[in-house]
């Protein structure tokens, strides 16, 4: 199957802090912390007193970005142990948020996709979210056959963590699932799958 030229890869426009916002809510993962720091450098620190920051270090724990975030002096900062725990808190906070609150997501694509889904459930149009990709380009991929999700996929093909089929990672992304699509690569002649190539380090 040919994958060149496929169009639906998400475009991340950058965090671009909106100074009209009444309140800023940041959900950041791993290297996504640096996207916020870059915003402070770009537009100054004034917005921080109206900002809530949720952070999860994930694969970046060694870089201690949480310490750097704490130094920013935002109105609130909360460091979550895991991504699901962060998403739970984001969900509750959005349920209490008002129009005029801007939502900023940064980190790996898999994280952005999941956080975006939480926001969409609160009636937020994904186009009104501020998003910036940072960190690993590893993908979160859904097996189209068994629907199992595999996180941190760096190769194509890869082996589905749920059903074991060798899957080609298509550049076809579902914002609802926050995942790329994996399709069995050797369906027509089982056993002929090529060797995995490291494509998304």
């Amino acid at each position: 199957m040919l994958v060149a030229g496929i169009k639906s890869r998400p475009v991340y426009g950058g965090l671009n802090v909106d100074t009209h916002a009444k309140r800023h809510l940041f959900a950041l993962e791993g290297e996504g912390a640096l996207a916020l720091m870059d915003q402070v450098k770009a537009v100054g620190p004034d917005f921080l007193e109206h900002s809530d920051i949720l952070y999860v270090a994930a694969a970046s724990a060694a870089h201690e970005h949480d310490k750097a975030l704490a130094k920013l002096g935002a109105d609130t900062l909360w460091v979550a142990p895991t991504i699901p725990v962060l998403l739970n808190r984001l969900n509750v906070m959005l349920g209490q948020a008002h129009m005029g609150t801007h939502i900023y997501l940064s980190g790996t694509e898999g994280f952005i996709g999941q956080a975006q889904q939480v926001a969409m459930n609160h009636g937020v149009d994904p186009a009104s979210l501020h998003k910036e990709h940072r960190g690993s380009t590893a993908r979160r991929v859904q097996c189209v056959h068994c629907k199992g999700i595999t996180d941190n996929v760096t190769t194509s093909p890869y082996t589905c963590s749920a059903c074991g089929l060798p899957l080609l990672v298509r550049d076809h992304y579902s914002r609802r699932l926050g995942a790329f699509q994996g399709v069995n690569i050797d369906a027509e002649e089982p056993g002929t799958a090529p060797k995995p190539q490291e494509l998304f380090p």
């Binding site: 040919l2 169009k7 639906s8 859904q142 189209v144 056959h145 076809h172 579902s174 914002r175 609802r176």
Partner: protein, 347 residues
């Protein structure tokens, strides 16, 4: 006109066949001897010789009962083939009304719709359904309105919501698809949803189609034909089951082309819905075996030429690579090089 509904299968023993009349009414998708993408939309008005698939706005044919049976089996295995995002309820009712009215008006001997204010009664004789319900009250139907009616209408159905100058694929019943997943694509916009289609983006087909559809008017549905090929008469060529039907592609030999290789045509019609301002996208699939196709000499000549000269990207995207040579070879026996007449109908 009483349709004689056939008992046949689209899986396992594959007993699907077209009658001689069904062959003549097939919506052959090529109006010339070559093929490339285009925004080939035309008003969806009754057209074609008597009996043709274009005669009625919602077409019901001899495969109706068997196709609905196949859909029920697909849904039993995989309920995710039917999905609707929560904001699409008004569009669901719009679709139910459209399909019930069109089927009852087109085939009164098989379907009846009685409307008494908000109290409706729907009778589907071929399927033995007699349902009374309150229009607008989903609790008076055994399932959501879109699922209820699309279990009783041939073709796949997608409802696109219109917002911010884009169309969003936000609901659908998809069990007879040419290799795309509703579960994956639901929520995507028009460009994203068609993302994997090669070449067409570059020549602006989707930009033009989107612009056209955004201004689609109530009362003025449009249609277009699309096509691919399928090995064995399998309706459910979903990506979900690709590992099950994909191996079939390697089973084509010069001897079995006539019975195994099928041209798969999609008659797509698009309707602006009244209450929701959404657009209903009907993707009706018709299958025809090569040995059935060549009984119409014009189609045999033309399809041979189209398939022989198809751009390589399309051969790849449509998944024809493995069996195209055998099929072109087989079809060449029916192409004497004579010119073909314009248009899609048999001579």
């Amino acid at each position: 006109m009483n349709i004689k509904f056939k008992t046949e299968s689209f899986r396992n023993d594959y007993t699907f066949k077209n009658s001689a009349e069904a062959i003549r009414r097939f919506p052959f998708p090529f109006n010339e001897d070559k093929y490339m993408y285009s925004v080939n939309m035309e008003p969806h008005v009754p057209a074609g010789p008597p009996g043709h698939a274009y005669n009625k706005p919602i077409d019901v044919d001899e495969h109706y009962v068997a196709e609905m049976h196949d859909r029920a089996m697909v849904l039993k295995e995989d309920p995710l083939r039917y999905q609707a995002l929560p904001h699409m309820m008004a569009a669901q009712w719009d679709t139910l009304e459209l399909l019930m009215e069109a089927q009852a008006a087109g085939y009164p001997e098989h379907f009846t719709l009685e409307r008494n204010g908000g109290q409706w009664r729907w009778i589907n004789r071929p399927m033995g359904i007699d349902q009374t319900f309150t229009f607008g009250d989903a609790s008076t139907l055994p399932m959501e309105p879109l699922e209820f009616i699309t279990r009783q209408a041939q073709g796949d159905f997608v409802i696109v919501d219109q917002r911010d100058g884009q169309l969003w694929c936000d609901a659908g019943m998809v069990t007879t698809q040419a290799d795309w997943s509703l579960d994956f694509d639901i929520g995507m916009n028009f460009h994203e949803w068609h993302g994997p289609v090669p070449l067409a983006h570059e020549i602006g087909v989707f930009d033009r189609a989107l612009k056209f559809l955004l201004n689609l008017q109530q009362g003025k549905p449009v249609r277009r034909l699309n096509w691919t090929m399928t090995i064995n008469p399998r309706l459910d060529t979903s990506p979900e089951n690709y590992h099950k039907w994909g191996p079939d592609r390697a089973t084509v030999t010069p001897e079995n082309v006539g019975n195994k290789v099928h041209l798969r045509c999609e008659l797509q019609s698009l309707w602006r819905l009244p209450r929701s301002n959404a657009i209903l996208f009907v993707i009706r699939c018709y299958l025809i075996k090569m040995e059935e196709l060549v009984t119409v000499p014009k189609w045999a000549r033309r399809f041979h030429r189209v398939l022989r000269d198809l751009p390589p990207e399309l051969v790849d995207y449509k998944g024809l690579t493995r069996y195209r040579p055998a099929t072109v070879g087989w079809l060449s026996r029916f192409d004497d090089g004579q010119p073909t007449s314009p248009g899609i109908y048999p001579e």
